[in-house]
């Protein structure tokens, strides 16, 4: 089965229903990529430990206009409304897999233990759109900066995107310095995104940067001439009516 879509990932620096109540711009953008009247969207809240309140907010946000479901890796025994049985078959049928925030280290550990890393890789190849914020952004990259246990460190992600990633770039000044230092020390060059900015990759390449906030920024961070440069990327603010016209 194929979706007819290329592999796509939309990686939010922060934002979407869980961080920007009342601002649906990033979530709407992802749904528009599905090109379906009622897209199938599956929520994967592993990084939060499948927090109930998070799952509820997902359904509140999407259930009126999408075919919604969620995967729980903590309650495989009880169901609790999550997908039961063959996770792989279910995930491969989706238009969008939406990965929530939390701890990227815990997320990767649990995914690998359940074989979800492999399943999501094949979903991506078949054109299931993968998106997420924070840990749900970091996980797709080769390397990612996390500050979960205090000081920022670099972890290996799934490596679908051969870049590094740093999220909440505006939120924590320490992360910004550390990310540049890491890239200077040999971490894969990559992309940083503020809260409200989302990096849209088609295949392995960055296609565009969109935002739900007029001033949200994103950067390419790479070594150049013995230094590490932080090059601002053009960002399309999704709340701008003129942009809608341009896209149409």
């Amino acid at each position: 089965m194929t979706t007819g879509r290329p592999p796509q990932i939309v990686a939010f620096g922060g934002g979407g229903f869980s961080m920007e109540a009342g601002n649906p711009l990033l979530d709407d953008y992802v749904l528009s990529l599905a090109e379906r009247e009622r897209p199938k969207v599956c929520f994967v809240p592993t990084a939060s430990g499948d927090a109930d309140h998070y799952v509820v907010r997902f359904y509140r946000t999407f259930s009126t206009r999408c075919e919604t479901s969620h995967v729980s890796l903590f309650r495989r025994d009880r169901g609790d409304g999550a997908v039961e049985g063959d996770l792989e078959a279910h995930l491969l049928r989706q238009d969008v897999v939406y990965v929530g925030g939390g701890s990227v280290v815990s997320l990767l550990g649990a995914w690998r233990a359940h074989g979800l890393d492999r399943v999501l890789r094949s979903a991506w190849r078949r054109g299931v759109i993968l998106c997420g914020l924070s840990a749900g952004s970091l996980c797709w990259f080769q390397e990612a900066v996390t500050a979960f246990h205090g000081a920022p460190t670099v972890v290996r992600g799934l490596g679908l995107l051969p870049h590094s990633n740093c999220v909440h770039y505006d939120g924590e000044p320490e992360r910004r310095e550390e990310y540049r230092r890491f890239v200077g020390d040999g971490v894969t060059p990559g992309y940083a995104a503020d809260d409200g900015a989302a990096l849209h990759f088609v295949g392995r390449d960055l296609r565009r940067v969109v935002s739900s906030r007029p001033r949200a920024r994103a950067f390419r961070v790479e070594p150049r001439a013995g230094d590490v440069i932080e090059e601002p990327l053009p960002v399309s603010y999704l709340g701008d009516a003129r942009l809608d016209l341009a896209v149409a």
Binding site: G109, A147, F148
Partner: protein, 271 residues
């Protein structure tokens, strides 16, 4: 060496088949027993709710039980704890580390991803008491039986304790046959089955006591000898069996099906 460190003894693990604050809100016997294993006057206890994904209800129940009994904290591996202290500093200053139930596969995978498994082994070696129920008990053994993937299946543990362990022997009776079959086939080494409310205390790697918070419960030692399973029932010491305060039926609710199973079992023993 601090006074706290000098007061630590040999490695101890309290493995519960079920019970404690997450399952017995009105019965603190097992949790008090866990605290009684340390010698410091104001013990520090750390709760690890990893196997259930750090649910708020479990964390709240932990503090409700332990806040007045000990210096109680919890460690989240899903929400940032806002502390810049290393995991090693947090773990190795404890007197008791208490592990909740849930998905054993997630528990071990997430601990390993954070390298917490090695720290817990180190804590055990240093004489910090490890206690836990269900997934939080089986994890210390060579293996057990889990529903982490939905259906019951055999799972490997950290292997600090020799032998296998299976939990909720009375509360979830469908576990026992899966475990017995695995012991018979050699997939799991021989070991113990524990009812809800039953705790096995290990000093070093030797099982030294079996205690219980509920009357009528038991532990079972099972070994494969040739093609046969040799079973040995162990009667636990009933905790808090204070004649002045006998446990009331209201504080020890036993579902009908479990009561029936226990009666059946007792009848089988008599015959």
């Amino acid at each position: 060496m601090t006074v706290r460190e000098r007061l630590r003894g040999e490695p101890q693990i309290l493995a519960m088949g079920g019970g404690g604050f997450t399952m017995e809100p009105d019965n603190a016997a097992l949790d008090d027993f866990a605290l009684s294993l340390v010698r410091v006057p104001e013990p520090r206890i750390l709760f690890l709710p990893t196997a259930s994904g750090d649910p708020t209800a479990q964390i709240t129940a932990f503090y409700a039980r332990f806040a007045r009994r000990a210096s109680a904290t919890h460690l989240s591996l899903f929400r940032r704890h806002g502390s810049s202290r290393s995991l090693a500093d947090i773990v190795l200053e404890q007197d008791v580390i208490y592990v909740g139930g849930g998905s054993m596969r997630n528990l071990l995978a997430i601990w390993r991803a954070h390298e917490l498994d090695q720290l817990l082994v180190e804590a055990w070696r240093r004489g910090i008491v490890l206690a836990g129920l269900s997934a939080g008990a089986m994890c210390w053994f060579a293996g057990g039986v889990t529903r982490s993937g939905g259906p019951l299946e055999v799972i490997e543990g950290l292997g600090l304790l020799p032998g296998s362990f299976t939990v909720h022997a009375d509360g979830e009776p469908e576990r026992l046959p899966v475990w017995l079959a695995a012991v018979r086939s050699g997939e799991l080494p021989g070991g113990w089955a524990a009812d809800d409310g039953v705790g096995l205390l290990f000093r070093g790697t030797r099982m030294t006591r079996v205690v219980s918070s509920r009357p009528g419960t038991a532990a079972l030692r099972v070994d494969a000898v040739g093609d046969e399973l040799v079973r040995h029932r162990i009667e636990p010491e009933l905790l808090g069996a204070d004649p002045a305060h006998p446990p009331t039926p209201a504080s020890l609710p036993v579902p009908d099906d479990i009561r029936e199973l226990r009666e059946l079992r007792q009848a089988m023993r008599r015959s």
